[in-house]
């Protein structure tokens, strides 16, 4: 059976090559696995160019950046590549981490190999959301939360998510459906992160449906369900919306730029998450990846550059001192609001994702 399979596969390969030669400038498999290379999938300008230049000069390791814009596509890419990934380091957001881990795409981190590990802010060293079965996954880079964002010129201030459903804001709000479902569940007094629902699928379903029905009932308040942070920024700038649920980063960038925008955490609370660099399972250049991660941890300047680019707070120690006043102000929250942030967990993800995805589709289809 195995033999047969090999034959069939090599036949296919042969055919593909035959067809390919016609169009092929080269069929040679690019050398992903070179010792002097590290392949990174990440966001535009996430890693400062000056740092890359310096790193390449110091270590002789070539840094190849593949830009991405979407966690889902990144996940699909890695899954499709299977056991022979072409990437060494991927950028994962906290609430996606469990999905990557479940599919066995990430390698756990040997923190002993990172001598700069201590330069992380205390709160993020071995943060629970990056720890599974005692193993650490990922170098935390940035932290953010799901905030209530308002245009201070047109929308009145409120200390509750309830303002999103006020008749006054008809056709003027926007949110990411799946994220906001969790928040609404919390707003309704339920567990939006499903951590406590492990053995109670019925309760979870009831809570989910309650949030779903509520959002369908208030669909007239929504101007648009959005996906990308840039869409949110554009809608605020264009005054298409006055009020939104949003990740803190894109909104903070608007604040830094001087727009009449305010981010807050309402009294019902919200969720937080981490961006992290992760070493891919079976990474072709794992050693180079560790060298790179260690170097990136070395200086708060790098953390600050990431913050400026993304609008999220840095997980590195001492970044505050590098930022200017305006940037610091955009990132700071009153202490009582900071306490309202609960970080996404990695427990019971399957149930959460299934129920949230379904409910989100139902809301959109309604």
């Amino acid at each position: 059976m195995k033999n047969l399979d090999v034959t069939r596969r090599s036949t296919l390969k042969l055919l593909a090559t035959g067809a390919g030669v016609l169009a092929a400038p080269s069929i040679i498999r690019p050398a992903f696995a070179e010792s002097k290379v590290v392949n990174i999938t990440t966001y535009d300008k996430f890693v400062p160019q000056s740092f890359i230049d310096q790193f390449q000069k110091d270590t002789g390791i070539e840094v190849r950046i593949r830009l991405t814009d979407d966690q889902g596509k990144q996940y699909n890419l890695l899954t499709a590549e299977g056991a022979t990934p072409s990437t060494d380091i991927v950028t994962v957001t906290g609430h996606r981490l469990s999905q990557f881990m479940k599919s066995n795409l990430l390698a756990s981190l040997d923190t002993a190999r990172l001598k700069n590990w201590d330069k992380l802010a205390a709160a993020y060293k071995g943060a629970p959301q990056l720890t599974v079965d005692g193993k650490t996954f990922g170098v935390p880079l940035l932290a953010g939360f799901e905030g209530l964002v308002r245009n201070t010129e047109y929308a009145k201030a409120s200390d509750s998510w309830g303002i999103m459903f006020d008749d006054e804001n008809k056709n003027l709000t926007s949110y990411i459906v799946s994220d906001f479902l969790s928040i609404v569940m919390r707003y309704q007094g339920n567990d939006g992160d499903y951590v406590t629902y492990g053995d109670k699928p019925d309760v979870a379903q009831t809570a989910t449906n309650q949030a779903r029905d509520f959002l369908i009932q208030h669909k007239d308040k929504v101007r648009k369900y959005y996906d990308a942070g840039s869409e949110l920024q554009q809608m605020f700038v264009n005054e298409d919306i006055y009020l939104a649920q949003a990740w803190s980063g894109p909104a903070a960038k608007l604040v830094m730029d001087g727009h009449p925008i305010e981010i807050s955490v309402p009294k019902e609370g919200t969720f937080g998450f981490l961006y992290s660099f992760n070493v891919v399972n079976n990474a072709p250049n794992a050693d180079a990846a560790y060298t790179f991660l260690d170097a990136i941890l070395s200086s708060p300047e790098i953390g600050a550059a990431m913050t400026r680019q993304s609008g999220f707070s840095s997980a590195f120690d001492g970044v505050d001192k590098v930022l200017n006043d305006k940037e610091r102000a955009a990132l700071s929250l009153p202490p009582e609001q900071v306490e309202r942030i609960q970080f996404f967990s990695s427990i019971n993800r399957d149930m959460k994702n299934d129920m949230i995805d379904k409910a989100a589709a139902e809301i959109k289809a309604a």
Partner: protein
């Protein structure tokens, strides 16, 4: 009176053309205007004008590299799609070929499969046959997408070709291959030209296939999309404007070229 009535539809038609032209061009004019806005985000009114975004784009090594990479891919795609497309069209137009309609339908398949599905299925497939992601895979996917359009254009032209042109060449001593080179290909030239322009445009514009099959080098749309993700700033408008100006220049040159070769 009579002429007045005769001119009325003509005037209406002219008006419809110009309204349509404005509909097509206006948004792009806005996009271009916005590239001069001196602010980090895009919105009207423009307020202060600046050229600094262009300065930034022109000095952007990434932009230049992505442009060259995109052009390279587009050229390779064009060449391979034209060869394969003409080949398929010849087969479909040949006499005595069994299952012509089926072959034609299958040849057109990639044109009617939505891009996303196309990209994903292609990604799964090249993994099955062990082709690595990267330049070659991108060209392959772009070629698959462009081939149906070449086939359709070439086939239309082939159908209008007098059958005895090839017979005449054969009669004068050309074997089938020479007759193809010296008679069929020149006759197909307008269709090939149209097909090539189409290939270049779809390839340069393609994002979703490139993402799924691409390696580490970003193409132009990938670069723009990734930049957009970081926030819509006039920098992107400046990039788009440069792309637009260059492609328009190429288009006008192409038109000039065809006009000259026709007269």
């Amino acid at each position: 009176m009579r002429t007045y009535f005769n001119d009325l539809p003509k005037t209406a038609l002219g008006a419809s053309y110009w309204i349509f032209a404005v509909y097509l061009v206006l948004p792009l004019t806005l996009m271009t205007a916005m590239s001069f806005k001196d602010a980090n985000f895009i919105a009207f009114p423009i307020g202060n004008w600046t050229l600094s975004w262009y300065a930034k784009v022109v000095q952007d090594k990434q932009f230049l590299e992505a442009s060259l990479y995109s052009i390279g891919i587009a050229l390779a795609t064009t060449v391979s799609a034209t060869i394969i497309g003409v080949w398929i069209a010849l087969l479909v137009s040949a006499e005595n070929i069994w299952g012509k309609a089926v072959i034609f339908a299958l040849a057109c398949l990639p044109a009617v499969v939505p891009g996303l599905i196309n990209a994903i299925s292609m990604r799964i497939f090249i993994r099955t046959v062990d082709i690595p992601t990267g330049t070659f895979a991108i060209i392959l996917a772009h070629t698959v997408h462009a081939v149906p359009f070449v086939v359709i254009m070439v086939l239309t032209r082939l159908r209008s070709m007098p059958a005895n042109l090839v017979d005449a060449a054969r009669d004068l001593g050309a074997d089938p291959f020479i007759a193809f080179l010296r008679v069929t290909i020149p006759y197909l030239m307008p269709a090939l030209f149209g097909g090539m322009i189409f290939c270049v445009l779809t390839s340069i514009d393609d994002f979703v296939r490139t993402f799924f099959l691409g390696g580490y080098q970003p193409t132009l749309p990938m670069l723009i999309f990734a930049k957009v993700q970081g926030g819509m700033s006039p920098e992107i408008n400046a990039m788009a404007t440069i792309v637009l100006v260059v492609t328009t220049a190429i288009g006008i040159y192409a038109e000039h070229f065809t006009r000259r070769s026709r007269s």
